[in-house]
Structure formats: structure tokens, C-alpha cells
């Protein structure tokens, strides 16, 4: 599988937090205020935003390694949560369904937003 493009830390991270406002790439809905989430590196598989339905129903995934860590869900300005799948909820745009933008962990109640799947403004 292709390695996803890594985003340059210095453009997006300041004091270990998101330097810029985070928005939906597709509709511009505001997701996080600046400096409201911690930048972390961890490897995690996420389903692609666009699934190719010709590939027989198998969910196509990619490995993502840069996330914003949000400890309290009410830190989000606008965000959607899917139903629970195996101890996770997936995050989507609150206005246009685009996603998964990241995931929410049921056990810890923490959320993780993939840097490559959102817009920085």
C-alpha cells in the first residue's frame, strides 16, 4: 500500500498543538478551534473516505500516522459520530457526512482527527 503523504509538522503544529483552525475539506464546516488539540504520531488504520464499490464490499483502508488528539468531545466545534463499530465511533463532518475524519475510542472517550483528512486555515 502507498504510504500516505506526511504533513510538515512546522506548518501545522505549535507548542505540540494545532496551530491553525481545522475545517472540513469539502464544505468548510469548522471542526476545531486553533490550539485546542494535541498533535500526536501513532499508526492507525482508517477506511478511505471514498470506497470503490467494485471491489466486492471489502472495506479499503490506509495507515495514517499523524493525528490531533482531543480528550473531551465537547472541545469540537462541529463534528459527527457514527454508531459504534468494534469499540470505535468514526468521526465525520457535522454538515456533509464526509469521513472518516478520524475516530473516537469508547474506552478512553478520546477522539483522534487525521491531519491529512482535514483542512488547515
Amino acid at each position: 500500500m502507498d504510504k500516505p503523504a506526511e504533513m510538515s509538522q512546522k506548518d501545522y503544529v505549535e507548542d505540540g498543538q494545532n496551530k491553525l483552525i481545522i475545517k472540513c475539506k469539502f464544505c468548510g464546516s469548522k471542526i476545531l478551534d486553533k490550539k485546542s488539540a494535541k498533535y500526536i504520531m501513532q499508526e492507525k488504520e482508517l477506511p478511505f473516505m471514498q470506497q470503490d464499490t467494485r471491489k466486492g464490499g471489502e472495506v479499503q483502508i490506509e495507515t495514517i500516522n499523524q493525528f490531533y488528539h482531543v480528550e473531551n468531545m465537547y472541545t469540537f466545534e462541529n463534528i459527527g459520530f457514527t454508531h459504534t463499530v468494534a469499540n470505535h465511533k468514526y468521526l465525520s463532518c457535522a454538515d456533509c457526512y464526509a469521513g472518516p475524519l478520524g475516530y473516537y475510542e469508547i474506552d478512553t472517550k478520546h477522539s483522534y482527527v487525521a491531519l491529512t483528512r482535514v483542512e488547515h486555515c
Binding site: S36, Q50, Y74, T75, F76, N78, T82, H83, C96, P100
Partner: protein, 203 residues
């Protein structure tokens, strides 16, 4: 410690028969390519939306429910903590309007007594297919002392307004409660002075 970035948190529910448009109301109506993605196959549980009302930053946590769950299976656990309920019917479908009464009864049985309610007649863009007049919607709302609005998730009519009106109604209630609490505290603080009750009219 992380600083709290909002003033109030309101939990809202969307309720109504299957197909009335609850999920479309929750999300901006879209016939576009997103509707066939991974997210839509799993389905949305709830969303968080931030609004500003009277200088207060309010987080709305809005829950979608599936209409096929019907009245009998939507019970106390669904309603727990809900401060506002959007009760939705479809203006092109008589049955969904008739069921509003049953949903109201269900809410009475299971939800918090002081939950703020609002009735939405959705799909008002489909005037040619309308079977429930706006007057009938208004009448049932008046009868139960509830707010009412016709909406269209498709044409984005009154959707934002409905949520901010519901939130505002809850805010009014909350503000009233805060004022009550203040009054009670003052009353307690004053008690030691044991001022005799004023008997203005019959002394």
C-alpha cells in the same frame, strides 16, 4: 487543567416515523457522492454543533434516532438527559402526522417532564404532494402548547432556525432556573433576620 471552552451543553433528540427526514435534517441534505460512502453505511449516532446565543457559547449534542424503532422500543434510556426534542412528520404523508400524537404520549411517559419540544412538518418543498396543511400542524402544536415550524431539509428551509429556537427556549428555561436558585439563596441568607411577614392587607 483544560479550560472549559463553552458555557452550556444541551442534549437534543430527533424523533418521528421512518422516512420523515430526521437524518437529512441532522445533516445538510445531500444527494451527492458522500451518501454512499463508508460513513453512511454505518450511520450517524449524534453530532456536536456549536452555536452562540445571547453571548453564550452553547454546545448542542444532537441525537438521531431510527424511526423503525417505533414508539414502544424508544424508552427511557433514549430520552435520558434530553433537554429538547424535535418531533418530525412529513407533510406529504398523513400517517406520519397522525403518529405525532403517539410520539407525544411516548415522550410524556419516558422523557423528562420539563423537556422542551418542537414539532417540525418537514419536506415543505414538496408543495404539490402536500397532504397535511400547515394549519393542521399549527393546530396540533397549539393544542399541546408546543412550538411549530415547517421545514425542508432539501431546500434548507428553517433548519438552522428550528435548532436555534429550540436551543433558545431551553436557554430561557435554564436562565429562569438560575434566577430561581439565586432567589432561593437570597431567601436563605435573609432568614436569620427573621423579619415578620408583611401583612399588607389585613392588619
Amino acid at each position: 487543567m483544560a479550560k472549559k471552552t463553552y458555557d452550556l451543553l444541551f442534549k437534543l433528540l430527533l424523533i418521528g416515523d421512518s422516512g420523515v427526514g430526521k437524518t437529512c435534517i441532522l445533516f445538510r441534505f445531500s444527494d451527492n457522492h458522500f451518501t454512499t460512502t463508508f460513513i453512511s453505511t454505518i450511520g450517524i449516532d449524534f453530532k456536536i454543533k456549536t452555536v452562540e446565543l445571547r453571548g453564550k457559547k452553547i454546545k448542542l449534542q444532537i441525537w438521531d434516532t431510527a424511526g423503525q424503532e417505533r414508539f414502544h422500543t424508544i424508552t427511557t434510556s433514549y430520552y435520558r438527559g434530553a433537554m429538547g426534542i424535535m418531533l418530525v412528520y412529513d407533510i406529504t404523508n398523513e400517517k406520519t402526522f397522525d403518529d405525532i400524537v403517539k410520539w407525544l404520549r411516548n415522550i410524556d411517559e419516558h422523557a423528562n417532564e420539563d423537556v422542551e419540544k418542537m414539532i417540525l412538518g418537514n419536506k415543505c418543498d414538496m408543495e404539490e404532494k402536500r397532504v397535511v396543511s400547515k394549519e393542521r400542524g399549527e393546530a396540533i402544536a397549539r393544542e399541546h402548547g408546543i412550538r411549530f415550524m415547517e421545514t425542508s431539509a432539501k431546500s434548507n428551509i428553517n433548519i438552522e432556525r428550528a435548532f436555534s429556537e429550540l436551543a433558545e427556549a431551553i436557554l430561557d428555561k435554564t436562565a429562569g432556573r438560575e434566577a430561581d436558585a439565586d432567589a432561593a439563596r437570597i431567601a436563605v441568607e435573609r432568614r436569620p433576620s427573621r423579619a415578620p411577614p408583611a401583612r399588607a392587607c389585613c392588619s
